[in-house]
Symmetry: C2
Subunit: 348 residues, 2 copies
Amino acid sequence: MGQKQTQIRTSPSNTGSTPGEFDLIERFFKQRSVDHPNSAIAFGIGDDCALINPSNNQQIAISTDMLVEGRHFLLGADPYLLGRKCLAVNLSDLAAMGASPVGFTLAIAMPEVKVDWLESFANGVWDIANEHDCQLIGGDTTAGPLTISITIFGHVPKDQSLGRHKAKVGDDIWISHQVGDARLSLGALRQEWALSAEEFSAVSQRMHNPTPRTALGKHLVGLAHAAIDISDGLLGDLNHILHQSSVSADILIDQVPGSKTLNSKSIELQRLCKLTGGDDYELCFTAPKDKFSQLEDLSSRLGLTLTKIGSIIEQAPTQRLIRLIDSNGQELSSSLSEQYLKSFDHFK
Amino acid sequence: MGQKQTQIRTSPSNTGSTPGEFDLIERFFKQRSVDHPNSAIAFGIGDDCALINPSNNQQIAISTDMLVEGRHFLLGADPYLLGRKCLAVNLSDLAAMGASPVGFTLAIAMPEVKVDWLESFANGVWDIANEHDCQLIGGDTTAGPLTISITIFGHVPKDQSLGRHKAKVGDDIWISHQVGDARLSLGALRQEWALSAEEFSAVSQRMHNPTPRTALGKHLVGLAHAAIDISDGLLGDLNHILHQSSVSADILIDQVPGSKTLNSKSIELQRLCKLTGGDDYELCFTAPKDKFSQLEDLSSRLGLTLTKIGSIIEQAPTQRLIRLIDSNGQELSSSLSEQYLKSFDHFK
């Protein structure tokens, strides 16, 4: 049982000699060689449990997500991209802790076994897993409404993880690459606004095929204090950092980086997409001012733009944790701010 | 953020000041003190990831399950017992590896937030978690068809885990406590056979409220070779051990222990329930013959019956891995054996 093979378990398993339909599922998840088998995986084959070898002076970081058809992804979503995205969002959670990927478990309920769908979905999962040296170590498959749950594991140097509660007064606030394209695409799909075919093509990849910032997260250990990945929207996610760190922030909203397509739109639409749009999976992090040049160096080395978008300004915050500052240095009006800071709830 | 608090994350999270319905869910999973906070949990609060501190010379054992309403539990199932069972089946997987529980993540999709249901479900989860010193370290909640996915983590001494591939020729085959009651109950519910109200009451607890054999599993490290928990039926589960260890087995089918109620039924019904019934979550394990008296001592110490039910008989097995032997020492007829060895598939 070499480290190059992984297997997804079906539940309950077939016990006889006649292959059940679920054997079809196993076919797509077992006996795939991976490019860089992770040495931390001691045993990833179908036993009751998988085994991970902890490394010296490392902690195990763990995150879990559940994605439901019609809620987190559209009916009829491209299965290859869906497979990529399911793992991408979990890789993004590891990155936000500064953890390096080790392995993941995958549980799927599906109404019926569709071979073509499964093959594409599995290809998507395997491709992004390989790109980030993250290995499938086990899982569960069953009949039910299409639901996918992934739990991911990574290593992070002991007591050095990035944390939502670690922002300090005086920190700069940074964001990786650009935000807002996922929201811009979604709005076009929902007919909230129109995009040309060319524009839609340029921005929709960001929604369907996000890039987890694995290398950035790992290299931020020792440089950054707090970090979070932008899944629900920049302001909402930043708010978690502020709340858990008991600090507040000034955000220079017109310095938040967007794509060329988004930057060609009205200032109102830019702000809506950049400040409240989710699903971009960029990292927002805080770092001491004296790390500025090291972060610029890191940006060059990774070939990934990092932009300072604000500052942590005070301890013992008031009710409002975020002040939104426009390009004239003026705070946005209260009513306009509220529009961007409004809540989101999956049951609404 | 002390170790005595845990929190389940909602996805996406509320970012504004108006509490969403999902806050109701958080209420049931956060800020509960646990009786014995697990020192291996470094950080279990709502960040992007939870953190586990590995112990010296221990590996991390990981298992995951997905349970779907109408498939793994009945519509309208008692939520307290459902909460218990969801974690019990995962604790049972750890026990089958010889691993001691550390923590778990819980992901739930539910169509709407029902406060009473959630409160009972959470109470069930918390009660059994406390009984087994296993701590909630994170999770995800979302709207969707009722689906529950748990991933559990435990510690097992490095390179000493029990494994399905570790059975050796000459090993005795053992089973803990009794099997078959869960199947006996299910058959009564399905009107395959009749039970008196008294009988049903006596056996149905085994289906609804199984007991993971945590202490047994932990103590089998160093005594047993292979182990598996009986979730899909004794023969089907044992077959995994035989297949993965490349050995075959003789099973003394009328020595498989059952409850007083089950033992009062016909020999055919006893065999059906004991050999093919799932959901009992007892441990089936193999151990060298010279561990017999140590296993008897362990049974006394734990107050848990352990019964020898067969032997591992040969390497390089033929197609048929299990020979079923009756109380006269005769092998069951081929057609009768097939009946017990037939497959199970969730999609059939």
